[in-house]
Amino acid sequence: MKLELQGLVARHAAAHAGAGDALAGLSFQVQAGETVAVIGPSGAGKTTLLEVLACARAPTAGAVRLDGADPWALPRRALQALRGRLILVPQVPPLPPRQRVVTAVLAGRLPAWSLGRSLRSLFYPVDIPAADDALEVFDLADKLFQRVDRLSGGERQRVGLARALVAPARLWLVDEPLSALDPARAESAVSALVREATARGATLVATLHQVDAALAHFPRILGLREGRLLFDLPAAEVTRAHLSRLYAQHEDELHGAAPAADMPAPAPAVAMQCR
């Protein structure tokens, strides 16, 4: 899917009145099938950018075009169909704790399924091989029939990535896919992600905290700082000077480990409400 942004301005999800814009005038294009990494310090607007691209948040000014069409000019039904052709993988994929991994992965297929097929899949998963293959890519095949609440944070994050592999999506928007993974796993996960997106011809936009991983695996790097594009370069041309400008006053994020993903607190036990 081809992406075009023109002078895009958008606000953060939790913005209160008077807060600045999370994205302050972004313009760039991504060709269909391209793989792009978005790097930048915390609070640069990376997640908001992905949400705007996923049609989950309307821009307050400027234009966003997916395959040449303005999603916000579409009728709601067509917009929802467009959302079915892309997938936004949140940093910490929210999954119902009692759901099984196979169901959680196959939920990525829902836009391609009729309601009858989706319900049938709850009784007997209709495409076990697809879920198994997707999990295999991220070394999780042995977890196929386990419950989600038995998984570690890193395993859940990879379940979220596996969901993208089974989705009928032409655009993958992946938020911090490595935040809960150890270095070895992160390395194999990011290379698998780029490889699978390329093999499917899907456009991939990933935000990353790990600058080294971004430079090593993505051909094109966008540097985002305070809602503005600081640079848009092939990975080979990104220099130390670029990076230190990007991370000025955030040097610990450039050199140190990525900040821990804010994992949601474990779901509280079911509390009976008195009604």
């Binding site: 709601r76 929802q80 467009l82 936004l88 119902p96 939920a107 829902l110 309601l115 079911v270 009976m272």
Partner: protein
Amino acid sequence: MPLSPATRHDPAWPGRVGWMLLGTVLLWPLLRATEFRPWALFDAESLRVTGRFLAAFVPPAHSPEFLWLVARETWRTVAIATAGISLGLLLAVPLALVSARPLSVSALTGRMAPLPKALRQAARALLVVLRSVPELVWALAFVRVVGLGPAAGVLAIALTYGGMLGKVYAEILESGEPQVTQTLLRNGATRLQAFAYGLLPQNAAELTSYTVYRWECAIRSSVVLGFVGAGGLGQQMDSSLKMFAGGEVLTMLAVFVALVALADRFSAALRKSLG
């Protein structure tokens, strides 16, 4: 720097005292209006009357014919409650799905669109009407339409409990974390798919336990409905009371305790297996 003695007081304190005083002042006329005089329970005359009434309850009636009658009527009572709740579910589930906010696609990006909003309000209004008419009134109406017997009780329970279940289902669905459902909707799933793969597994335990609790309430309701001729144990109890057969009443009360205890165990087992 330590606070000065004047500022060491809890600033919320005067407000708290004020609300407490206001509550008492408001409660007093209510107690007057309801002629609340608990000490009247304990004067000698009332104790004597109560004692005589209760003494008539022992020993419980236990002749084989009577026990057989009680068993048959118990079965009928359970059938009325179960059929009533099942019919009520046919009303409650669709209305709850229409009125639950997390399943709104247009609310994904801010405000809900006018038409869905109107539909949602209409569903809520219908639920209010259904549950604000007491089941006794529905039963009196239906006894005239379908004649004396369990059918009137079933219809009365179905309407009132449909209203209650629908309202509380919608509230349960709205009380959990919205992210799971939101992620599915954002990625192009339809409302019902998002319900089956996100909202339902998240809230299954609470929905089930509330439904079982309402079944228990329906059993009690069916007794009251029996007094107006809707069949079951209630009708039997009504005639026993009229004939001053206290022992029979006690036997039937024991059956109720057993039914409620059974519902309690059943609910606990279901919650354990779902939550």
